[in-house]
């Protein structure tokens, strides 16, 4: 097996894919969270400010999903084929959610009428909730594994996706995004709206901690094998440790009013949660629950070495570029939201 810096290429691409998905969850996570809590904001100006807080960046954030999809397709086509054809129904629902999220942001501001805007507020918020829930549901099922045949194709029934564990992961994802989104909006607002968002952020912290706690408890009691990997090596324990410290830091920073630090903490929480799932699943991309031989791993699901090298080169050239213009855009729109004539 050929390696680069002592790590084989498939593992490199697994890391890149994981980083892109974490990037997506952190970046679009606050957009989706802001959308999910949209209806908690009652005044028209508050809603406009909230929309304009994500307005210039949400589209760029969503691109991380596109890159992630491309990364999976290119690097692990077998997993790409199995996951998306297997999750057919929830994925279609997810995509319809993405369509409505995108167009409701755009359409809402095009008419001044109260009814028009109220309808779009509902569609927007509902779409964001559906997106977050379906993402969480699919994440939960990936963590559990799916029944696969010898050609690595899904052979189960889609109703089995709605198992207690995955539903809990879905709710936890929604809670985490709402918390993350409230913190982001608090950073971008001032005065009474800011105060309102600080209260919401604290409530969502409770929502998240409770749902996360129940999910963890359920996992430890009923699906103990999901934590086998972490038990296998004490070094891995640092991962949950980092996560718990990050979670504990969120209310602490919220109380101090330091929203930037709280935002970093919620971002770390998202990334470490995904890293834990990745660690448990590894070296599988999709674990076959019926027969371990049918699992899709980073070896049997991977593209050729030549493609892996090309992809890493593409990522090495592309990532700094994306980093530069993403920071430039965030820097341009830094500070509190000010509405002007080009705003939503």
């Amino acid at each position: 097996m050929e390696t680069f810096l002592g790590i084989d290429y498939n593992f490199w691409w697994f890391l890149v894919f994981g980083a892109v998905i974490s990037g997506y969850a952190i970046l679009d996570g606050f957009d989706l969270g802001a959308g999910a809590l949209h209806l908690f904001l009652k005044k028209e100006t508050s809603r406009r400010i909230a929309l304009n807080a994500i307005g210039p960046v949400w589209d760029g954030n969503e691109v991380w999903l596109v890159i992630g999809g491309g990364a999976l397709f290119a690097g692990f086509p077998v997993a790409y084929a199995a996951i998306f054809s297997g999750f057919y129904i929830p994925f279609m629902v997810f995509m319809i959610g993405l369509i409505w999220r995108a167009v409701s942001i755009e359409f809402r501001s095009k008419e001044p009428g109260l009814k028009w805007r109220l309808i779009w507020d509902f569609i927007y918020s509902f779409a964001c909730i559906v997106i977050a829930l379906s993402l969480g549901l699919m994440l939960g099922n990936v963590a559990l594994g799916l029944p696969l045949n010898e050609q690595h194709e899904f052979i189960g029934n889609w109703l089995s996706f709605f198992n207690p564990f995955s539903i809990m992961v879905a709710i936890t994802t929604l809670a985490l995004f709402m918390l993350h989104g409230a913190i982001y909006l608090a950073m971008k607002t001032e005065k009474r709206l800011y105060t309102k968002l600080t209260i919401l952020a604290k409530n969502f912290t409770v929502f998240f901690v409770v749902s996360f706690g129940i999910t963890t408890l359920y996992t430890l009691l009923y699906i103990p094998h999901l934590s086998d990997k972490i038990r296998s090596n004490p070094v891995y324990f640092t991962l949950p440790l980092i996560m718990f410290l990050a979670i504990a830091n969120i209310p602490r920073q919220l109380n101090k009013g330091k929203y930037r630090y709280a935002f970093i903490s919620s971002s770390v929480t998202i990334a470490s949660l995904l890293a834990m799932v990745a660690l448990e699943v590894f070296p599988n991309l999709l674990y076959a629950t019926n027969d371990i031989k049918n699992s899709i791993t980073i070896t049997n699901g991977a593209s050729s070495l030549k493609t892996m090298k090309t992809l890493l080169l593409i990522a090495a050239i592309g990532t700094p570029l994306v980093g530069i213009y993403t920071s430039f855009v965030f820097w341009t729109f830094k500070g509190k939201v000010k509405l002007d004539e080009m705003s939503y």
Binding site: S303, Y325, V329, F333
Partner: protein
């Protein structure tokens, strides 16, 4: 069989709907770069006004383009899992490159393009407009490369067997510059420029007819007319080059385009006609030996006909391919005639005097759109029964785990959502056009406006 038809209908429907928007974004992007460039150079408020008006319309088009585009990326996995496994090594690389080099650039700078007018200097704003335009051009590069690889595969070898057969890359640049990439890309780009230019022409022709906003409508019309004239003519060359490539690389497709069955005969060129595929005969107005002349500059060289291919290795929808191809050609010729005539009238100083000409331009917005769609239908139907030409049949490329019922469910869902989207799009576009390129006013007037329209604001 049923799943195959449903999956194909779903793909055709979602891609055709999506493809209304990206060409408009690319074409409008070019026009925005020109308009804003003129503003930067002259400092003339008229150019600022038109730029800001078209940015608003661009936002609407871009939004729907993104929303419907994401579906496409994942539809390969949901409906065409076997295809995805087969081509992932190659097709996936192009999609990944598209995401990181094109979409990230486009979407990143879009924020500044739409909302940065008061936040960055006019130079930085212009740079952002340029980057959004370049991003959209790059995304066309990668997606056309991926599709061209399906038409003319290169730079790969086949590994595995049975269900595990797949194409693996051997030469990245040979894959990127496969025999049809460059000529098809240019053809697609120009089609997009025309779509954008004719939208601008149409809206401004409407204003001129209504005698409104003339000080902005007339110069906007002229900018778009220059773009439309240059690229209508350029498309003639690009299209000819593309057809030549099809003749060389995909003779079965070319034969279907002109309904040419007999390999021992010279090939005719039809202006219009109707094909009876069972009788293997086309009737219509034709230039005898025209296709032979186009390819070989004589009237006697025989051209490979459909009968040279096994019945299960050549397209069956010959009449549909024939019609699509001829619709595209007819529109191409019409656009050249229209833009040249308008340019001549401009030179005579009578461009805006002819009311009928403005009426024609107001409606001509549909022509490049229809031609773009027809061209893609020709390319994709003409490749059948192959999904990857000569390597993988469409019927073998499906997701074997997805049932017909699931596809029907999602097809109904997409149909309902897209019809709603399209109605909303037309409604909002119409409203924006009616509102016109007027002064966007100050923050205060906007807020007063919203308070008037929205009682929630007052408490």
């Amino acid at each position: 069989m049923v799943t195959e038809i449903l999956a194909r209908i779903q793909f055709a429907f979602t891609i055709a709907f999506h493809y209304i928007y990206p060409p408009l974004s690319i074409g409008l992007g070019l026009i925005l770069v020109i308009m804003e460039g003129m503003y930067l150079k002259t400092g003339n408020k008229i150019y600022e006004q038109m730029t800001r008006f078209w940015i608003k319309i661009f936002a609407l088009i871009f939004g729907i383009g993104v929303a419907t585009g994401i579906i496409m990326e994942f539809e390969f996995g949901t409906n065409w899992a076997t295809y995805s496994k087969y081509v992932g090594d190659i097709f996936g690389s192009a999609l990944a490159a598209e995401g990181i080099f094109a979409f990230a650039l486009e979407s990143g700078f879009l924020g500044i393009l739409l909302f940065g007018w008061n936040r960055v200097s006019s130079k930085v704003h212009f740079l952002s407009t340029l980057m959004v335009f370049l991003g959209s051009m790059f995304s066309a590069v990668w997606i056309v490369v991926a599709n061209s690889w399906q038409q003319t595969p290169a730079g790969f070898h086949i590994v595995g067997e049975g269900m595990n057969t797949r194409a693996e890359i051997t030469d990245f640049w040979a894959m990127v510059f496969n025999p049809s990439s460059v000529e098809r890309l240019i053809h697609v780009w120009i089609g997009a420029f025309l779509a954008g230019a004719f939208l601008v022409l149409s809206v401004n022709a409407y204003y001129i007819l209504k005698n409104k906003y003339l000080e902005i409508a007339k110069p906007s019309f002229k900018i778009a007319l220059v773009v439309a004239t240059i690229f209508s003519l350029a498309q003639l060359l690009a299209g000819d080059k593309s057809a030549e490539g099809v003749a060389k690389n995909q003779p079965a497709k070319l034969a279907a385009m002109e309904a040419h069955y007999d390999s021992s005969a010279v090939a005719d060129m039809y202006l219009l006609g109707w094909v009876n595929n069972t009788k293997q005969k086309a009737t219509g107005i034709k230039i005898p030996g025209g296709l032979t002349f186009l390819l070989h500059q004589d009237f006697k060289t025989p051209i490979t006909g459909l009968n040279a291919f096994k019945p299960d290795e050549r397209p069956t929808q010959v009449n549909a391919i024939f019609q699509m191809y001829h619709i595209m050609i007819a529109i191409g010729i019409t656009l050249i005639a229209l833009t040249l005539y308008a340019s001549w009238q401009w030179k005579r100083g009578k461009l805006f005097d002819k009311r009928w000409l403005m009426v024609v331009f107001a409606w001509a917005v549909f022509l490049p759109q229809i031609a773009n769609q027809a061209g893609w239908f020709t390319a994709e139907m003409g490749r059948q029964p192959w999904v990857v030409y000569g390597l993988l049949k469409t019927s073998d490329a499906l997701s074997r785990t997805v049932s017909a019922n699931q596809i029907i469910f999602s097809l109904i869902l997409f149909t309902l959502v897209y019809i709603t989207l399209f109605i909303l799009f037309l409604y909002l576009l119409n409203k924006k056009i009616k509102y016109g390129p007027v002064d966007y006013g100050t923050k205060e007037t906007i807020e007063q406006g919203s308070i008037r329209d929205n009682p929630l604001l007052t408490h």
